[in-house]
Subunit: 364 residues, 2 copies
């Protein structure tokens, strides 16, 4: 079975590694010279807006999926067939923060108060309406904290619109949340869903730093699962998706979602029977979904900017390295470490210890 | 870290899949047009006796290993450096059944009575000395039951030497064994060893059909581990190796060994923290050896000759498919299924059920 993946980064690489044992063969489409997924997949070098290359990818594979969401959706929409999953609708929704918020509101998932702004005047009006502190985000093309700015004082807002590139913005009330969690699951064409245990996520400099399983109070857990199901159903979603929420006063507030396998689900590679990557592939080729049973508490630590020697990481039996073989660069995700343990406090303590031993600063 | 593998079959494929997350990049040397490992590794197309290609492989990689043992060892011996592991000595010993038996005798591992024969006259003398029934095996280049013949009646022996190609033979007393077991482990350069739980193996038509973990009586288990250690030490072995033995009257008899990852260790992909493939790579690049802890009973079923639809195989949460993407051909290993369960009888029953459901005849 031949699978095409738009994007050849670490998510494509881990998809290929997960699907190869099922007998799948992979081709990644990526403009890079040798993207890290090309070590385990054929590589078609083409731009993400190259409609001909995308059409060929769709025509020459049994299923096509994508591993990141900043693909020109209009190009995809024009050529997409049922072969391409998740549906372009999900991509279009995730690419635009306004549509995303409206989608959350549509399914009844509360969000922080927000305004759309496409001029300095409308920025000022949003500040007036929402009050401070706020966070301004470019409505499209943001990731890993890029295109975001926090606003604490009214005087910082004077030229905010220009500062963020004079592009449409979403201005949101800055939420005083207890924690950020994500709910990751996989939906197939029949609408069946499997859902992974919920994780708490810790970001640093706008980039995910660490995820660890967390046992939420029953009601919050139910809200999370309920909202992920509703979101997936409303998007006619096929594949793995991740919903990131804030926990505030015993309510989940929708922050954003990713229409793809997600960094907060990387722990599933070692912590469940069937990882988010394998389940994504099972869904897009319509194989039975795999078990998300997780016998052990688990956590994940991202390796950002520089790669410690593997020797230091894999000394413990329950510590698993996933290196992406990407050239080091500040702020770049180069790999992650999964830790599986007997109880969550000991997993978390081991993640702390790894941060210290590997010289990963844990200050946020 | 760049790793070269001589041979591009399923063992090379699974080595590459196991090592990629550690940040290793793989090149396989194989004469085939598109050997199945080439889906996840660079491929250098060259004959196994192409000394120039082998030398280039050794010079251009940080470590080089092999995935099957029928490589012209003389060619390798002439160019091998410390970069190539396991050592050529292990390959030379495994390639020649006479040397192999002598090695077993050297380490004190009992073997079935045997004779070397290089003429019909010496075949007749062997029969005279050993008595019937016997098994005759070509001294070199045999695998998966090829180049073997059982002898029950003296009259079948009349032209045995010619029948088996007029090549040197090993004639062995046919052992009435209770079961065949294998002991798989990994040794590093410092002589440290990790050893996996022992499996019982069931062959069909000379090809491994099924392996399942077995709890041997304490003394037999000790013999197995002791002999694997001695074998690895005497060969200055680095990497994963497998020792196959017969259980006869509470004694282990050495049958053969493989200087590589082995089919009877495939269950470790899903049944242990660190598989035989990953540990092989850790050993050859001198990373700390991984844990062979196996929390769950496990078993493996080979898929030979034809490939059932993946849908049928992966319906159970504890059933794991490993497809090799090789063209179907009678007697060809195309994949395997690992089953992990709560207790060994239920794993074995599930293997039975899979045999029935997938139409794999279980008669031997």
């Amino acid at each position: 079975m031949r699978i095409g993946i738009i994007g050849g980064g670490q998510l494509g690489r881990m998809l290929a590694l997960a699907g190869t044992p099922l007998g799948m063969s992979f081709t990644v489409l990526d403009p890079g010279e040798s993207p890290c997924a090309s070590e385990v997949a054929h590589h078609v070098r083409a731009a993400f807006n190259d409609a001909d290359a995308l059409r060929t990818l769709i025509e020459s594979n049994d299923a096509v999926t994508f591993e990141f969401e900043n693909i020109p959706a209009a190009v995809l929409a024009a050529i997409a067939t049922d072969t391409l999953q998740p549906p372009v609708k999900a991509l279009l929704t995730a690419q635009d923060r306004q549509r995303e918020k409206q989608c959350f509101e549509h399914i009844g998932l509360p969000v922080a108060p927000w305004r759309y702004a496409d001029s300095q005047q409308s920025v000022d009006a949003a500040i007036e309406a929402l009050g401070l502190p706020l966070i301004a985000k470019t409505a499209t093309l943001g990731y890993d904290g890029k295109g975001q700015q926090r606003l604490k004082h009214a005087e910082d807002a004077a030229d905010l619109f220009a500062q963020l590139g004079s592009v449409p913005l979403l201005i949101e009330r800055l939420v005083d949340f207890e924690r950020e969690v994500s709910i990751v699951g996989t939906r197939n064409r029949r609408g069946d869903m499997v859902i992974y245990p919920i994780t708490q996520n810790i970001h640093r400099n706008g980039i995910l730093h660490r995820s660890q399983r967390i046992e939420l109070p029953r009601d919050l857990k139910r809200q999370g699962i309920h909202n992920l199901r509703n979101l997936a159903n409303t998007l006619d979603y096929v594949g793995t998706l991740a919903l990131e929420c804030f926990v505030c006063d015993n309510v989940l507030l929708g922050n954003e979602f990713a229409p793809r396998v997600h960094n907060t689900g990387h722990w599933t590679l070692d912590g469940t029977h069937c990882s988010q990557f394998e389940n994504h592939l099972r869904a897009v080729v319509d194989l039975p979904l795999g078990s998300t049973l997780s016998e052990h508490p688990a956590g994940m630590l991202n390796l950002v900017g520089q790669m410690p020697p593997p020797r230091q990481i894999i000394q413990s039996a329950n510590t698993f390295l996933h290196a992406y073989n990407k050239a080091p660069r500040p702020g770049r995700k180069l790999g992650h470490i999964n830790v599986i343990g007997m109880d969550q406090p000991s997993v978390n303590a081991q993640l702390d210890a790894l941060e210290r031993e590997l010289g990963i600063r844990s200050d946020t």
